[in-house]
């Protein structure tokens, strides 16, 4: 093994979370090494639905709503920065988003949820409204007769998430970052502000380490006095052939991409690390999509896949600096696209400063600790 290669920060995980943080760190002038696993990794960053989504997120945890809103607000800045640095257009659109409702019960539950969130948001405000009848049909061409209403919030949008990942990697390298692909962390040792990260090929010595390895964080975190109790949650996605643009804004389950394909998704299954696609779930997704927009039934499905969300027990992210080994940070979430701007432009500067803002205090992993029985 070669002698240790020194840097200001090592980010473990080259997906959207790690790449966004690493990009934010090099922009602040740090020398950063980004370690990315090979294709054996689960790579949620390549299977996601690419929404920049706010509506309904953070029920019971207003700090998550604020963090999500902050990221959505920072997103145009990130887009411009990446476009300037890399020439890559991430195709951000933020026209607002719709959540479709199929029954009176769903309408009542949704309105109660959004009203609760509005109250919790207090002075930050939380705009939403119920859209029905002709206005709904004007806003969403070809919406199906089974859709009785939809809730609209102005904060939502979507991007091309593969271009986002590409742009983050390219921007990171262009700013002087060192990207190391196809490498797996085999060991680590920690002292405050002095970390050694071992891979099969090299040893890295660093002042800071950021764990952004998605589901892999669970194994890595204990090396650094941290914990990352995250589990996989499977989502399946169907993609149609390209059509001329029809959908002016995304919904949670159906969105039309910048290049014209229509993505159908939002299944949720707890099946461990099983990535198989199943006809029953695919049929359910297709049926609900046609109920939402009957014209989707005319389109051919050209691709389908499944991927694993990185879920904590309460669905909220985990951000924490190790108390035992300051300089070690953990970052986990299931919304690497939505939160990319917050990670690059808000979280990375906190990591440089060595101090996470109190706004992130609700996201430490000790919230999952179960008190020992008396």
């Amino acid at each position: 093994m070669s002698t240790a290669q020194a840097s200001d920060a090592v980010v473990i995980g080259g997906g959207l979370v790690g790449a966004a943080i690493a990009y934010g760190l090099v922009r602040k002038g740090l020398e950063v090494v980004l370690l990315d696993e090979g294709d054996v990794a689960y790579r949620a960053s390549r299977g996601n639905f690419a929404l920049v989504w706010v509506q309904g997120k953070g029920d019971g945890q207003p700090a998550y709503t604020r963090w999500t809103r902050a990221s959505a607000s920072e997103w145009p800045g990130l887009r411009d920065m990446l476009a300037e640095a890399t020439g890559i257009d991430t195709h951000l659109q933020q026209p607002g988003g719709m959540h479709l409702l199929f029954s009176d019960t769903e309408v009542a539950q949704r309105l109660a949820l959004l009203e609760r969130m509005k109250l919790a948001a207090g002075n930050h405000g939380y705009e939403y409204r119920l859209v029905e009848g002709q206005e709904l049909r004007d806003m969403l061409p070809g919406v199906g007769p089974k859709v009785i209403a939809a809730t609209y919030t102005p904060y939502d949008g979507h991007v091309n998430s593969l271009k986002l990942l590409h742009a983050l990697h390219r921007g990171f390298v262009a700013a002087g970052g060192r990207y190391v692909p196809n490498t797996t962390v085999t060991g680590a040792s920690a002292a405050p502000g002095d970390f050694r990260i071992d891979t099969a090929e090299a040893r890295y010595a660093t002042l800071r380490v950021v764990l952004a390895a998605g589901l892999g964080n669970r194994e890595l975190a204990p090396h650094f006095g941290l914990q990352a109790p995250v589990v996989p949650n499977k989502g399946q996605v169907l993609v149609t052939e390209r059509t001329k643009h029809l959908l002016p804004m995304p919904t949670v389950c159906v969105r039309q991409t910048d290049e014209g394909t229509v993505m159908l998704g939002d299944s949720k299954e707890d099946k461990g690390f099983d990535l198989s696609q199943t006809p029953d779930v695919m049929a359910t997704i297709a049926r609900r999509s046609i109920d939402s927009f009957p014209w989707i039934g005319q389109l051919n499905i050209v691709r389908a896949w499944s991927a694993l969300r990185v879920m904590s027990a309460d669905g909220f992210p985990i951000y924490e600096q190790s108390r035992r080994f300051p300089g070690a940070f953990v970052a986990n979430c299931h919304s690497g696209v939505t939160l990319a701007a917050a990670h690059a432009l808000l979280l990375a500067p906190m990591i440089v400063a060595g101090d996470l803002d109190p706004m992130l205090a609700p996201f430490t992993a000790d919230r999952f600790d179960v008190p020992a029985a008396a």
Binding site: E259, W295, Q298
Partner: protein, 100 residues
């Protein structure tokens, strides 16, 4: 570039972008496109680049064509039929959202 094999099968008449062409029974619509000598059978939806059939085995999607009025069909996967009308697929498919 393309010549019929000597054991020629019965011929089927189809049109490729308005041009009549005679192709062996059992051949694919993509083969008809190549026999017709068309310059392109589709324009890509994103950049408008011209394309002709390529893999001939259902993988590359470069032979997408409008066949008998149905857009975006993989021409290499569709056997020819007497009177079949094969037309260029120009850009993305157009759907009438109210016609479903």
């Amino acid at each position: 570039m393309f010549r019929l094999r000597p054991e020629a099968r019965a011929a089927v008449r189809v049109t490729v972008d308005g041009r009549d062409v005679s192709v062996p029974e059992g051949a694919s619509a993509a083969a008809a496109v190549l026999l017709a000598g068309a310059d392109a059978i589709r324009q890509t939806p994103v950049t408008g680049a011209p394309r002709l059939p390529y893999c001939m085995m259902g993988v590359c999607f470069d032979c997408l064509a409008e066949i008998d009025g149905v857009p975006n069909r993989q021409a290499c996967m569709v056997p020819v039929r007497e009177g079949m009308v094969i037309a260029c697929q120009r850009g993305a498919r157009v759907i009438d959202p109210e016609a479903a």
